[in-house]
Amino acid sequence: MRGASAIQSVLEQHASAPLSVFVVWEPVLPTDWITPTSGVLARIRDPRAVQFWDPDRRLSAKIIETRADPPPGGVVWDVVAVFPKGTRWENAFPSPVFQGYPVINAAEDLRKSLPAVLAP
């Protein structure tokens, strides 16, 4: 969950940037038994965020379809990706211009990647 807080911190540094944020919570660890609580959801409080609960890890599976090498454990998680303006998801999940994991370690690179993506 420190990753979520790290993303919130990056968003605060780009508070006025035209961004959409998709937060997908999925069960990965043995302790992920139930839908994330309000306390967990509050970790990312930026109003530009939309939060989802993906109990069957469908998005992870969809992303894996586009990868030549499956991720460790067969699950895409604790990852953050950035898509520039204009990118559309047509047949396959699109490739990001930046991705990093674990999120807590990728937060600084995420912050650095945003100005280029947000440039007009």
Partner: protein
Amino acid sequence: MKRGTLTAPLAALASVAAALSCCLPFGYLLAAAGLAGAGSLLEAGRPYLYVPSGLLLVVGFARTYLGKECRARRTRTGVVLLWTATAVVLALLVLPRWVGALLPRYTPAGQPPLATLSLPEFQKQFNDAAGRARIVTLLSPT
């Protein structure tokens, strides 16, 4: 702090706990159910909260059905509470998704309500936001 300074209050606390456990055995049961309930809210701590819940229930059953050192009567209320607490703990343990689903989930102010992910809907929202840069993150709740 001198040893006596610390042990005296600890002994007093232990004595009170022992007395309460004898006269009010269903205190254990409320604690058991409470710990299990807290476990449904505090995901990361759940395994650690269920262990004392189970132990407290065992103590409750022992006090109710096996206890001989107490003279307190086994009351109908106590038995009902014991089995109610057991049902609550088992429900939280065995059916956490269903029990957890009963709890409200609130997203922070300004965000839409939490949605269960549907790929077509997610894809639509992703494409609808194509006029802006987007961040997508996949996270574990704990």
